[in-house]
Symmetry: C2
Subunit: 232 residues, 2 copies
DNA sequence: GTCTATAACGGGATAGAC
DNA sequence: GTCTATCCCGTTATAGAC
């Protein structure tokens, strides 16, 4: 599944060569630092070819990111549906939902190794600081699966206030983006062999799940406490 | 404390005008999209003045970011030390440590409102996708306070494996960066009035603390489970 | 479909007068 | 310290030959 879209396609037409080269450079040097000229050099094609096939630089950028992110999200939903099938539609546990949510990113890093790490960094940058050209794409793709996960989490945690859940869901996005951004060839977020993604998955779930299920916080600290904290 | 460095300085010398203008534009349009010429227009000074006072574009960028981040980290450590004093040096609770850790960012947003939100976005971008010029600065400042907090967390949670703690600490950084990046004028991470930062603080602590204190995950799921999850 | 050549522009940096 | 003028570079995009 991942292979079909993430590895270099077998077809060797010009458009594919361009998008492969652009991906390599966007990933390695960052989107803003990569010029079309660099892409054409890397792809061994001409400057005009990019405009012929993609129309503009922004459109090429969108194509590259789309090819990376889409299969991840497809996989997320597939895992979720698969777990639901195994449960015959009954509510899943928080742990199971989180596994479906997190596993695709770990798989990406494991499958492609060094390249996976760089792709992860690229994805993290695109999420955390999307250029104006990427923002609509990111938000569209995000909304496709985030509501499904939110709904499933709400089913798993009926006692947690829906708005509180949404707040925590946003925090989890932060964890995941950080995970991608801090991935190293020798481990996810440091110090762990990437060949072992399942232990990492369990570490993440063990960290996130308790907070997700936690009761709503009690009233904020009493005023005197605030004064003590804030004032010098 | 925050005011002295974050608000526009009273002095109106050229260097200050430049750095103020650069901050406004870096924040509003992003660092890569802001040219020195735009800065000079905004500051009402000449192109050469920037090179005279800062030497290069990268140096100006570093000065701007430094002025934003440094007081936040100073405040983090001040709050931590203050709590330690109140406890006469005895170990703090996880909740107290997290409050010292998170409060400065919320204060920033509350104090400066719309401008605070934009600064928060800028800080988040700088953390999540630092340009080569910013990376050393970020890492230096980060290491200054992160070890202090790690040590304090280790004291609060002697039963949690140190390496597991480090892993979770990195996840928290993700939450905080996300918090900054997703801040809106009407609320932190959506739907909450920013005038009320203490409830937000408690929500964050309530979400993070349980995961920090959680026991190490049990052995990863048995092999057949992996096969079931990974295969189509 | 693919290429060369070039247009049209904006960038950072600097020399040198004041 | 401050300004003007300029250098030199790389950028996206396109026109037009093949």
């Amino acid at each position: 599944m991942l292979e079909s879209t993430l590895e270099t396609a077998q077809r060797d037409d010009t458009a594919t060569r361009i998008i492969d080269a652009a991906e390599r450079l966007f990933i390695r040097d960052g989107t803003e630092a990569t010029s079309l000229r660099a892409v054409t050099r890397e792809a061994g094609v001409n400057v005009a070819a990019i405009h012929y096939y993609f129309g503009s630089r922004d459109e090429l950028l969108r194509s590259v990111l789309d090819r990376i992110i889409k299969p991840l999200n497809v996989r997320r939903l597939a895992l979720l549906n698969q777990s639901l099938d195994a449960h015959h539609g009954r509510p899943l546990s928080v742990h199971e939902i989180l596994r479906a949510f997190l596993l695709p990113d770990l798989e990406l890093i494991e499958t492609l190794r060094d390249r996976g790490v760089e792709i992860a960094h690229f994805a993290a940058r695109s999420y955390a600081a999307p250029s104006p050209a990427l923002k609509p794409l990111i938000e569209e793709q995000f909304s496709e699966w985030s509501t499904r996960f939110m709904d499933e989490l709400a089913r798993a945690l009926p006692r947690v206030d829906r708005e509180e859940l949404a707040f925590r869901f946003r925090c989890i996005i932060g964890v995941i983006v950080r995970l991608l951004g801090a991935a190293t060839p020798r481990g996810v977020a440091g110090g762990l062999d990437t060949t072992e993604i399942l232990p990492t998955l369990e570490r993440l779930v063990a960290f996130i799940a308790p907070g997700l299920s936690a009761p709503k916080p009690t009233r904020p600290a009493p005023p005197r406490s605030r004064a003590r904290i804030i004032k010098e």
